[in-house]
Each structure stands twice: as structure tokens, then as C-alpha cells.
């Protein structure tokens, strides 16, 4: 007898671990259970992956509006392997929702919820809700635009609760406004409350599954019962390996999206929830005004209530779907409804500006920020950090004033930049700072394109908008080239009054060189 064996014997005599292992692995399973019965193990694997990747992410994540975004950006961009760990956690969430639904449909199809397994089924429904709770609380955490605005919508939905709406929303926010307290309580729910609930209910679910044995095939298959290990465990393991490989492929191949940082003052952002909530979101559109609670409370409430009570509503002994036509019809209806609404939701989704796309104002801002005047202070060893290394935490207005009129921000400490700066230049620098916080690299620009962008940043941006940035005083120039050609634009910019007596726009022939006039006219004419 080797030393390992004698150690195991000693450990067994003190702990009884062999009996425990045998209890776990040697359960006799009926003949004929095939691949249908691997869905629970897949869920167990995915939940385990979420738990451990979550712990690692928690080592780097900071739940505060000040730091959350930067800490997520750090995980995604600078932490070795961080991008993949975040990918596993992010895509893992979607995988779990899909796996949970498949598991539930398998149970429904096989009639496995029937007596005596009613409570097993009910713990399963609670687990589905816990999983959706994870998904909901999880996507506020990165504190980007999507997080902020999708959560705003979620909380507004909670407000439509009859009678206690305001109170429910208040508790979800943790205060009057969505902010630091909201983020902290959603974080606490995501990392303490929900995992505790998840583990508790998973243990109960598996305990009950073992207590009643698995339901097995609908029609008994002749043959000998065989132990779970290794016969069924091998099927479980192969299925787990396939799903894990798929999840890893997703995590390695796709970047997890991260919008620009949450901006509560941005009224232009149209929020869209994750795909698994899209059907609910879409449903809201069909119940406007006072009917809203139908979509937010009544229908989801009926679905959840119906699911919980399913074993009591369907008490017949027959397990075959043909003997349960009503249940089958209800699930087909529910499934079709969810799929259709999700599809319509996708079709309705607005195309979001790509966060890595550099607008013309941000590009101009980069040129201004590299100006010698900024580098008087913003340089290595200077009184302030080089601009490319500066993380601005203040709002865009502060930044604009810091650049154009420092007297307002800190009287007496710094002179306004020599030669002055236009409002538009300030806005351009602010836009640039916002972009670099998002961690994207600016594309190189040169030649006439660069000249045009600098002209826009210095002058045009004071009154005109391009791609949603600038000032809405004059016409939007995003598609200026659709109506006018370069020749006309050049003449107009040089001296608008020569074309139209009543033109509000000032003449620029005395402020721009010939080369600059040509550059900006060609640039605008090319915008179609």
C-alpha cells in the first residue's frame, strides 16, 4: 500500500470523503437519457466561469462614477489578459441566458416539472430571475453611455409600478438621482447579494434534483440503469468542452463594446438594452401613456407567475407534449412573441456613432492641443501633465473655459493664451480630451485635409455643426456637399454678401489665405 493510499485511507476515516464522492458520482440513472440531459451541467460550468472571472475583475474594478470607466478601460486595454477575462464575463452572461432558456425548454418539453418535482422547477424559475438580475445590475457597472442610459430606462420602468412606483425607483437609485449611490448599490447587489442567492438556489436545485432523481426520458427505455460517473459525466464533459471552446472563441475574437464615458447632460443618446431585454423594451412601445404598466408589470408578471405555477396549472399525469397541448401552445406563443419582439427591437435600433470614430472637431482639437502655448505648462517636467497623458475628470464646459478663458477658472494663476482662442477652439480641445479618455488613437491627417480641419475648428465650429458637434446657429454642414459644389462654397465663404445681400455670415476673405479657402471649400464639398 503506497503512502498516497494510506493517506487517503486516513483522510477517509476522519472525513468520510469516499462516501460523499460516491454519493455525488454513483447515482444510478435510467437508461435512455441522452444528450438532452447535459443542459444543466453546461449552466453549472458557465455560472462557475462567471463567478471566478467576476472575482478577478473585482480586483481591478472601482465602483465609483469617478473611476469606474477608467478602471474598466484599464482592464480592457492595459491589463495583460484583461481583455479576454472581461470577454469571458461579458459573453458568458449572454451564454448563460441562452443556456438557461434551453434548459428550461428541455424541462418543459420533457414534462419534467411535474409531481413530485414542483419545487425543483420553482427554484429553477427563481434562478432564471436571479440570472436576469445579474445581467441587469452588471451592465451599469462600466459607467459608459450605454450603462447610464439603459439604467435610466430600467429605473423609469420601475416607476410605472402601481402605487409604490416612486418608492421602488427611489430604492433602486439609492437617492434622488442616478449617481454614485446607485452604482454602489447595484455593484453590491451584483457581487454580494445575487451571488449568495445564486449559490443558495443552485444548491437547493441540485439537492432537489438528486432527492427525486432525474425525470429521464418521456417514454421509458428498456435497459439497465447505469451510474452517472463516468457514463453520463462523459456526455456532460464533452458538451461543457464545446460550449467553453465557443465562449473562449468569442472572448478572444470579439472586443467587448465600451461606449464613451457616461454623460448625464447628453440628451442625444438613444439607449438600447442588451439583446435579452430587447423584447421587453420593444413591448413598451405598444403600450404608451397610462397603458404602460401593462407592458412593464402586467405581462411580465403574468409570464413569471405562469412559469412559477406551471406544475400546479398542468397537473395531468401525461408527460408527452401531445398530451399537454395547452402548455405546448402557451410556450410556442411565448417563444414566438419574445423572438418577434426581439427581432423588431433589433430592426428599430438606432445606429450608434462608433466610439472609435474621430469627429472633425476632435481632430482639430488634437492639433490645437499640440500648440506651443499649451506646452508652456503641459510638458514633461512642466507644471502640468502633457496633454496626451491628462485624464480630464471635469465637465466639458470647465475644460472649454480652462482653454479659452483661464481667468474664470482660476483668477490670477495663468494668463489667457497669447493670441486668444475662439469658443470653437476650446470646444475642439474639449472634444479631443473626451476622445483620448476613451482610449482611441486619432487617425493621421495631413495636407489640405489638415488645413481644412484647422479652419473648421477655428472658425466654422463657432456657428455650424458637423456630425453633431459644434454650434447650431448656422446650417448643419455634415452634408454640405450635397447641395453645393466647391466653387460655390469658396465664393460664399470668401464673401457671402456678394451672393446674398441678407446673408448673416461674415466674410472670411480677409481672415483666411487662398490656400485655406480652397481647402475648406473642397473639404465641405466632399461631405455628402
Amino acid at each position: 500500500m503506497g503512502p498516497l493510499r494510506s493517506f487517503a485511507d486516513w483522510l477517509d476515516s476522519r472525513t468520510g470523503f469516499r462516501a460523499g464522492r460516491s454519493h455525488l458520482l454513483d447515482e444510478q440513472l435510467p437508461a435512455g437519457i441522452g444528450w438532452w440531459f447535459v443542459t444543466g451541467s453546461i449552466l453549472l460550468l458557465l455560472l462557475g466561469v462567471q463567478l471566478i472571472t467576476g472575482v478577478v475583475l473585482a480586483m481591478y474594478y472601482v465602483p465609483s462614477p469617478e473611476h469606474a470607466y477608467d478602471s474598466v478601460r484599464f482592464i480592457a486595454d492595459r491589463l495583460p489578459l484583461g481583455r479576454i477575462v472581461r470577454g469571458l464575463h461579458f459573453f458568458g452572461a449572454s451564454f448563460i441566458v441562452i443556456a438557461a432558456v434551453i434548459h428550461m425548454l428541455r424541462v418543459v418539453l420533457f414534462g419534467s416539472y411535474k409531481q413530485p418535482r414542483e419545487v425543483t422547477w420553482m427554484t429553477g424559475v427563481v434562478l432564471l430571475l436571479v440570472i436576469l438580475g445579474f445581467a441587469l445590475t452588471g451592465y451599469l457597472l462600466p459607467w459608459d453611455q450605454k450603462a447610464y442610459w439603459a439604467t435610466t430606462v430600467t429605473i423609469n420602468i420601475a416607476r410605472s409600478t402601481p402605487v409604490f412606483g416612486e418608492q421602488v425607483a427611489g430604492v433602486m437609485r439609492g437617492g434622488a438621482d442616478l449617481g454614485a449611490l446607485t452604482l454602489l448599490r447595484w455593484y453590491a447587489a451584483h457581487v454580494f447579494l445575487l451571488p449568495a442567492a445564486l449559490i443558495g438556489f443552485v444548491v437547493a436545485h441540485i439537492y432537489l434534483m438528486r432527492r427525486h432523481g432525474i425525470s429521464g426520458p418521456i417514454v421509458e427505455v428498456p435497459g439497465e440503469a447505469r451510474p452517472f460517473y463516468p457514463y453520463h459525466a462523459a456526455k456532460d464533459t464533452i458538451a461543457m468542452a464545446i460550449v467553453f471552446a465557443l465562449l473562449l472563441t468569442f472572448a478572444v475574437s470579439f472586443r467587448v463594446p465600451l461606449d464613451s464615458i457616461a454623460d448625464p447632460s447628453d440628451a442625444t443618446y438613444v439607449p438600447r438594452p442588451e439583446w435579452y431585454f430587447l423584447s421587453l423594451f420593444q413591448l413598451l412601445k405598444y403600450f404608451p401613456g397610462p397603458l404602460e404598466p401593462v407592458a412593464t408589470i402586467v405581462i411580465p408578471g403574468l409570464v413569471v407567475g405562469g412559469l412559477l405555477l406551471l406544475p400546479f396549472l398542468d397537473r395531468g399525469a401525461g408527460r408527452h407534449p401531445r398530451q399537454r397541448r395547452l402548455v405546448a401552445a402557451a410556450f410556442v406563443l411565448l417563444g414566438t412573441g419574445v423572438v418577434t419582439l426581439t427581432y423588431l427591437g433589433f430592426k428599430d435600433s438606432p445606429t450608434h456613432a462608433d466610439p472609435s470614430h474621430w469627429g472633425v472637431l476632435a481632430l482639430a482639437g488634437r492639433e490645437f492641443a499640440q500648440d506651443q502655448r499649451c506646452q508652456t505648462c503641459h510638458r514633461i517636467g512642466g507644471t502640468a501633465n502633457p496633454i496626451a497623458d491628462t485624464r480630464v475628470k471635469r465637465d466639458i464646459e470647465w475644460l472649454r473655459l480652462h482653454v479659452t478663458d483661464p481667468e474664470i477658472i482660476a483668477p490670477g494663476t495663468r494668463k489667457p493664451p497669447p493670441g486668444g482662442m475662439t469658443q470653437s477652439q476650446g470646444r475642439a480641445v474639449a472634444s479631443y480630451m473626451h476622445k483620448i479618455r476613451g482610449g482611441t488613437m486619432a487617425p493621421p491627417i495631413d495636407g489640405e485635409h489638415k488645413t481644412a480641419i484647422l479652419v473648421y475648428g477655428r472658425f466654422c465650429g463657432n456657428c455650424h455643426m458637423i456630425d453633431g458637434e459644434g454650434v447650431k446657429q448656422g446650417p448643419d454642414l455634415t452634408r454640405a456637399g450635397e447641395k453645393r459644389d466647391a466653387k460655390w462654397l469658396r465664393e460664399w465663404i470668401s464673401d457671402p454678401a456678394a451672393i446674398d445681400d441678407l446673408a448673416d455670415m461674415p466674410a472670411f476673405n480677409d481672415r483666411l489665405t487662398d490656400e485655406e479657402l480652397t481647402a475648406i471649400a473642397n473639404y465641405l464639398a466632399a461631405r455628402k
Binding site: S22, P230, G381
Partner: protein, 162 residues
């Protein structure tokens, strides 16, 4: 009952094959996760510290052969954020264009040393460590000389690497 007991011999081989397959696959999943997660946990500990050349003083401003304390504002990465620190180094001009930079951190327990002009020594206020102008230990408990930092003279400007 141990797994494997009272099983017909014909089935033994199949059982063994399945058990092996399970062990290999689950081991592979576990090892992949351990590599990814362990890597993400451990890697920051082995990240190389990035150093930069910081302008410290003008060559003409330094007296000959006398340690001069210079405060440098250093920006350093701290995880997802940046911190700005004031670091003090002693610059000693040892020739027309030769400058030595000494760390002001005592090698004993990390207190800040200061230049005592009367005694012509760098003294530590905590446990009486004494260093000379080259950073060598003259008295007290410090186990090794003050750390030297790389220096470079660029025209009139003295740069040090931190």
C-alpha cells in the same frame, strides 16, 4: 462502494476510457481558466516600471561638488489612474559637465536624508545614518550607499531618469 467495483470486466475498459477522457477535458478547461485568470491576477506584479528622463536643473545653477536638493514633479501610473509625486534627489556637480544624482531615500529604513553643510555630510534624521557627498556610508546603520540615478546633460539642462 468505490467507482469501478463490482462491474463486469468487459465494462472496465470502457469505464477507464471514459474516466480518462473526463479527466483530460476537465483538466484542459481548468488549465485554460487558471492560465487566463492567474495571468490577469499575477501579471501586474511583474510589469516593468517605466522610466522617463525628467528635466531636473540647469547646469549653471548647480554649485561645484555640493549636493543640492532638487524637487521633481513626477507623474506615475498607478493602476487605472495617475499620481503626481514630488521626489527629491541630490544633484552633485563633479566636473564641467558631469553630474551625479543621489536618491534622498536612506537605505536603512527609507527616511529622507538632508545635506548638512557644516558637517559636509548627508544625514538621516531617523537613526543617525551618515553619507558623504558620493553617497557612501560614513556612519550609522545604513547597509549600503545611497542609490544613484542615471543622469544626462543635454546642453544646459541636467536630466535624470526616474
Amino acid at each position: 462502494m468505490c467507482p469501478g467495483e463490482s462491474v463486469p470486466t468487459a465494462d472496465r475498459g470502457r469505464r477507464r476510457f471514459l474516466s480518462g477522457t473526463i479527466a483530460v477535458i476537465q483538466g484542459a478547461i481548468g488549465a485554460t481558466l487558471a492560465f487566463l485568470l492567474g495571468g490577469a491576477v499575477v501579471s501586474p506584479a511583474f510589469g516593468r516600471k517605466r522610466s522617463t528622463w525628467w528635466p531636473a536643473a540647469a547646469l549653471d545653477d548647480l554649485p561645484d561638488n555640493e549636493p543640492t536638493p532638487i524637487a521633481i514633479r513626477v507623474t506615475r501610473e498607478d493602476g487605472y489612474s495617475q499620481v503626481v509625486e514630488r521626489q527629491v534627489v541630490f544633484l552633485v556637480k563633479t566636473g564641467a559637465t558631469d553630474v551625479t544624482a543621489l536618491s534622498s531615500t536612506c537605505t536603512h529604513l527609507g527616511c529622507r536624508v538632508s545635506w548638512n553643510a557644516d558637517q559636509q555630510a548627508l544625514k538621516c534624521p531617523c537613526h543617525g545614518g551618515v553619507f558623504d557627498r558620493t553617497g557612501a556610508v560614513k556612519a550609522g546603520p545604513p547597509p549600503k550607499p545611497l542609490a544613484r540615478l542615471a543622469t544626462r546633460v543635454d546642453g544646459e539642462q541636467v536630466l535624470i531618469e526616474l
